[in-house]
């Protein structure tokens, strides 16, 4: 399964605290990303807001509970609700994470890293195929931030992700902050990670902040994108070209204007590295 990269521009994560303001002010963002599980319920305010937002800007659905790497079977209930939401929202893209997160029916609500082995690769590739077949469209998977690695791993995360994309046809949501966080936590060169990812598989970038916990960096999404992540974003733009970006801010969420400003900064950095986009030149 292949897909050409969409020219979405620069977006922000749509968060509950900003619903009313977003609808009232219609801030200058090109697209929004909505956390899939927050909109799976059939009624209530979230669904109502998403209906309105999708009439204004493209929406990308980003899941946190698919648990593509879990040994547990993917629950039919989850797949059915996901398929129904995708049909209703008609998102520009559908993404989740390269991780596991369920065990014998119990949800851990975390994005847990996998051992990067041939067994895990075959398992995840098969499940990506199952999801893509069910949705009738490509799934993009995001590289996680990690704090542990496994002694059994026989390949790097970027080798695993690249091979997974090749075997399953999935796209890659490259989280630039997560590359930086994991690089610091395990002592590898983040640019080596970027070089290992196939250019044509990257559908969009995530940008976010992290917290320095002394012995490790925590993917906290609780403040602005820090300088080293902006620097790595520049590197990523040089390698991958014009890729849509998305600023995530999930904790200690600031006023909407501040999140939008981060997204505009991503647009400015892109223009600085790659020149103005054709969309901007045409307008």
């Amino acid at each position: 399964m292949t897909s050409s990269r969409l020219d979405l521009g620069h977006g922000i994560g749509l968060r509950t605290t900003h619903f009313a303001q977003f609808m009232a002010e219609r801030p200058p963002v090109d697209w929004v990303e909505a956390v899939t599980e927050n909109f799976m319920a059939p009624g209530g305010r979230p669904v109502s807001v998403l209906e309105k937002v999708r009439a204004e800007v493209p929406v990308v659905l980003h899941g946190v509970s698919l648990a593509i790497g879990s040994v547990d079977p993917i629950p039919e209930r989850y797949l059915a609700e996901l398929a129904a939401l995708v049909e209703r929202v008609e998102p520009a893209l559908v993404s989740d994470h390269l991780c596991w997160g369920t065990h014998r029916g119990q949800y851990l609500h975390d994005l847990l890293p996998l051992p990067y082995t041939e067994e895990a690769l075959a398992h995840v590739a098969s499940r990506v195929g199952q999801v893509q077949e069910r949705l009738g469209r490509q799934l993009l998977l995001e590289n996680p931030s990690s704090y542990v690695a496994f002694k059994d791993s026989t390949m790097t995360e970027w080798e695993f992700l690249a091979e997974l994309a090749r075997r399953s046809g999935c796209g890659i949501l490259l989280d630039v902050n997560n590359v930086y966080v994991s690089a610091r936590n395990f002592g590898f060169d983040p640019t080596q990670y970027l070089r290992g990812i196939p250019v044509d598989r990257v559908g969009y970038f995530h940008l976010a902040g992290h917290a320095d916990k002394g012995k490790y960096l925590l993917d906290s999404h609780d403040h602005a994108v820090p300088a080293p992540v902006w620097a790595l974003y520049r590197e990523a733009l040089r390698r991958f070209g014009r890729v849509p970006s998305l600023v995530e801010w999930d904790d200690a969420i600031p006023p909407l204007a501040e999140v939008v400003a981060e997204s505009r900064r991503a647009a400015a950095v892109e223009a600085e590295v790659l020149g103005p986009s054709s969309r901007r030149l045409a307008s």
Partner: protein, 256 residues
Amino acid sequence: MTLAETQALFHQAITGAEPVAADRIDACFAGTPEHPAADRVAIYANMYLWRLVEALRQTFPNLVRLLGDQTFAGLAEDYLRRHPSEHHDVGRVGRRLAAFLREHPDPERPDLADLAELEWARQEVFFAPPAPPAGAGILAGLDAGGLSRVRLLVSPALRVLVLDHAAAPLWRQLEDGEPPGPSMPGPAAVAVWRSGLEVFHASLPLDEAAALAGARSGDSLATTCDSFGGRADPATAAHAALSSWFQEGWLVGVGR
């Protein structure tokens, strides 16, 4: 280790369901002298508990106010050990908290379970499927026989609770930042519903709660009205109740 064995061990270490021997952690996970494997795994264990307790705090804000942060966290941890999340939406992890509190009552605050049940119902109706409310005009064209046989269809965004204690006044005190009064033994009925995008609740007479519960389970309109038989003027009471149900948007149609 197989993928299944790795995930089982990781799960065990994160949830603390059973202690994991240090040598098993070291055999599976890579660490460094500065940041050993066990400390790295502990990052996930701490986040697991923090995330779920935080989800419970968001669902039960007034229970948190009543108990205080620390006591609530202790209760949440006990609850999560017994009832880990079984749904992809972390917001649903608290669905058994009221039942858990009934099984483990606090002698000083026997109304905790009732407050939890009320707060859970408020969350449930917020996410209930939409159903446009019906007006009283839907009964207009029916003759007397048809009226008595017709069934009222109750909104999916309405819950009727019959609680052991009056939790609604307690909820209001806590919501307004007032000191909580003592627990008030019931039974006490409460209607919880969504109108538009807002959630409301209100105390109900017990016979009206029984009438609504009966209507939801398929009682005819005649049987529903019989619920008010204990009133001085049952017909007027039934009429007043029905009018308010239509007015609040609790009814979405009629069935036969």
